[in-house]
């Protein structure tokens, strides 16, 4: 089995600061990490490798410094790493990013593509699903569990929904987007760390993928940020003026509706 895992380097912060002038994230002074959902996706891939002997390739699109998360992936157990980096790719929105990553996928052999659900710097949850659309393969998002039946070559996926879970089965190629909360990613091993910088990170430019330049980077990005602001919390709630007994019934009914009880 060959698995392609898409990972992204993101600023490690829960308090994202936005530059009021450029409307972009302030990255200075914030440590950069592997996006948590992507790390969860890599863990799913490595668990398949542990059990069935898969070959795991990680790919990231980003600045040259994003190499460090590929080294981290090596130290966790990835076999091959590709850094897609080019000035022509700068300023990409989710569409241009997904086209570039789909371009990488077309150049590789794989049976399964795994991505994180969303990145903590953008929270769009679009890139993974878009890649699957470009490649014309099925997608399952919000993956919280993954099993594989080697004899039947069949995957069983637990997909998280707002109300609970769906259990889906599939055979053949697909793209999954994974949840960080579903799995505890392994630490880098000491031996893996010692070897990580001895391995080759393949550096690909935009010329390595057959995607027209007009569809890449800023040029290929229809998204324009007009205004960025911190949204204020508004929870209107519902007001029911009823007696205690009716209130209990109402609350129980609501909880049942949400499948909480």
């Amino acid at each position: 089995m060959k698995i392609l895992v898409c990972i992204k380097q993101v600023p490690d912060t829960t308090e994202i600061k936005i530059d009021p002038v450029t409307k972009t994230l302030v990255r200075e002074g914030v440590p950069a990490i592997m996006n948590p959902d992507d790390k969860g996706g890599l863990e799913f891939a490595l668990q398949l490798k542990d059990r069935f002997g898969a070959e795991v390739t990680v790919v990231t699109m980003g600045i040259p410094a994003a190499e460090i998360i590929l080294r981290e992936a090596f130290a966790m157990g990835a076999d091959r790493a590709i850094l897609l980096t080019d000035r022509k790719l700068g300023g990409a929105d989710t569409l241009a990013t997904s086209k570039a990553l789909a371009g990488v996928a077309r150049k590789l052999e794989w049976d399964l593509i795994i991505a994180g659900r969303q990145a903590i710097d953008g929270d769009t949850a679009q890139v993974g699903p878009e890649i699957s659309e470009h490649l014309g393969i099925p997608q399952i998002s919000y993956v919280a569990g993954l099993e594989y039946d080697e004899a039947a070559k069949k995957f069983t996926v637990t997909k998280e929904t707002e109300d609970g879970y769906q259990v889906l089965e599939f055979q053949g190629k697909a793209l999954l987007t994974c949840l960080a909360s579903a799995v505890k990613p392994r630490y880098m091993s000491v031996g893996g760390i010692v070897d990580a910088y001895g391995k080759e990170v393949e550096v690909w430019g935009a010329d390595r993928i057959d995607v027209p330049e007009t569809e890449l980077g800023l040029k290929g990005s229809p998204t324009k940020v007009v205004k960025s602001f911190t949204k204020e919390l508004k929870a209107p709630g519902q007001i029911h003026e009823v007696d205690a007994e009716a209130a209990v019934e109402l609350i129980v009914a609501k909880l049942k509706e949400k499948h909480i009880i």
Binding site: I68, R71, E72, A75, Y187, M188, S189, V190, G191, I193, V194, D195, A196, Y197
Partner: protein
């Protein structure tokens, strides 16, 4: 000259910091309170290769260096000094002498199991009447047929009872003084070997410290480490490496206390403002930070020298290790004492970790050579032979 960690060491520091924060820190107060060996953490560390950091790959290790090993002990001790010393005693005091003085057969037999963490290691030198004066060994080893027969007691042995392999120093010919001392590898399952009373300690209370009892303990001839009569030299050279481990532990304790205190003094308000805003706090903390950085440079430099020694055994790092350990231990004691003071009454309670850190710091001035022994080593190097 470059004071920065290289990329591999930096990636390692990132991993071990995260591991310590997430896996070690939550248990630190509990294992101290219960005086319990952190077995679950030991198993996690084994899986990651933390018990074989500076061990060549051909012996099942990670193939890392002593700077990485030092960083590991520092970062673990920053959260829990007990966990730090488990790794330090295992690595520096048991695996290292086997790698340095063992035969190829001994290395192949013991190191892979130790490096993987399947086996834990320990070292027995100290006796009731041979502490700082290590030459006064009373434990004896006598050759009988194809075996050595060991009799005697060792005390204050770190990892005792949890270790599978012990390096044991014993007298083989009393008439020769320190030249009559030899080193042996003893497996915990050997008949005649027993673990005695566990010490109740002031600090590092999760670390198992106990007595070893040898009663006609017969080990095979081939378990002699090095040559007959080399035991004292082996012990002293082993302690050189061990001191870097303990210096790293002290450094980690100091850093941990400082980090806790920065956090606390920014939150704690008195006279209407955070106590971190008072110049007295700022100046004292600035001094502590400076001392910790000075200690870190000494520790890193000693670990660097040890790596040079591994490549070229003629490089001697005894005084470097002694200076690092002396300074880092005294800084740890000063920093933790002052950090308790910054915490006021709360600092004296077990609600905050600085109380534990202060108790833990004290041992770093005592074991693997007291601060006075370190001064003897440093002065010996400084003066050479005085007529």
């Amino acid at each position: 000259m470059d004071f920065n960690l290289n990329k591999t060491q930096e990636l390692f520091r990132q991993m071990i910091r995260e591991f310590a924060e997430k896996e070690v820190k939550p248990l630190a107060a509990e294992i101290d309170e219960q005086e319990r060996f952190p077995q679950e953490t030991v198993e996690k560390m084994a899986r990651l290769g933390i018990f074989g950091i500076p061990v060549p790959k051909q012996y099942g290790g990670a193939g890392g260096d002593n700077i990485m090993y030092s960083i590991a002990v520092e970062e673990l001790s920053r959260c829990c000094a007990t966990t730090g010393v488990v790794v330090s005693a295992h690595t520096s005091l048991c695996m290292s002498p086997i790698l340095q003085f063992g035969t190829e057969e001994q290395k192949m037999k013991y190191v892979p199991k130790l490096a993987s963490g399947e086996w834990i290691g320990a070292f027995g030198l100290t006796e009731p009447n041979a502490g700082t004066d290590a030459a006064g060994q009373q434990t004896t080893a006598v050759p009988v047929g194809d075996e050595w027969v060991i009799n005697g007691n060792k005390i204050f042995i770190t990892n005792a009872g949890h270790a599978d392999v012990y390096i044991v120093i014993a007298m083989t010919d009393k008439s020769l003084g320190t030249k009559g001392i030899s080193a042996f590898i003893v497996e915990a399952t050997t008949p005649g070997f027993a673990v005695g009373k566990k010490e109740l300690k002031m600090g590092i209370r999760g670390s198992a410290t106990a007595e070893l009892i040898f009663t006609n303990c017969r080990i095979p001839k081939e378990n002699l480490l090095g040559k007959v009569g080399e035991g004292f030299k082996i012990a002293m050279m082993t302690l050189d490496g061990g001191r870097i481990g303990i210096a790293s532990q002290a450094l980690g304790i100091a850093q941990g206390a400082l980090d806790e205190t920065v956090k606390y003094t920014k939150e704690r308000k008195q006279f209407g403002k955070a106590i971190a805003k008072f110049q007295n706090t700022q100046f004292q903390m600035a001094d502590l930070k400076t001392k910790i950085e000075a200690a870190r440079l000494l520790v890193r430099s000693a670990a660097f020298k040890e790596d040079e020694h591994v490549a070229n055994p003629r490089v001697n790092f005894s005084a470097d290790a002694a200076m690092a350990k002396l300074y880092a231990a005294e800084v740890a004691m000063e920093v933790t004492t002052k950090c308790v003071q910054f915490h006021g009454g709360y600092g004296y309670t077990r609600e905050y970790p600085v109380e534990r850190m202060m108790r833990d710091a004290k041992i770093t001035e005592i074991y693997e050579g007291t601060s006075e022994v370190q001064r003897m080593v440093i002065a010996g190097k400084l003066f050479g032979k005085i007529k």
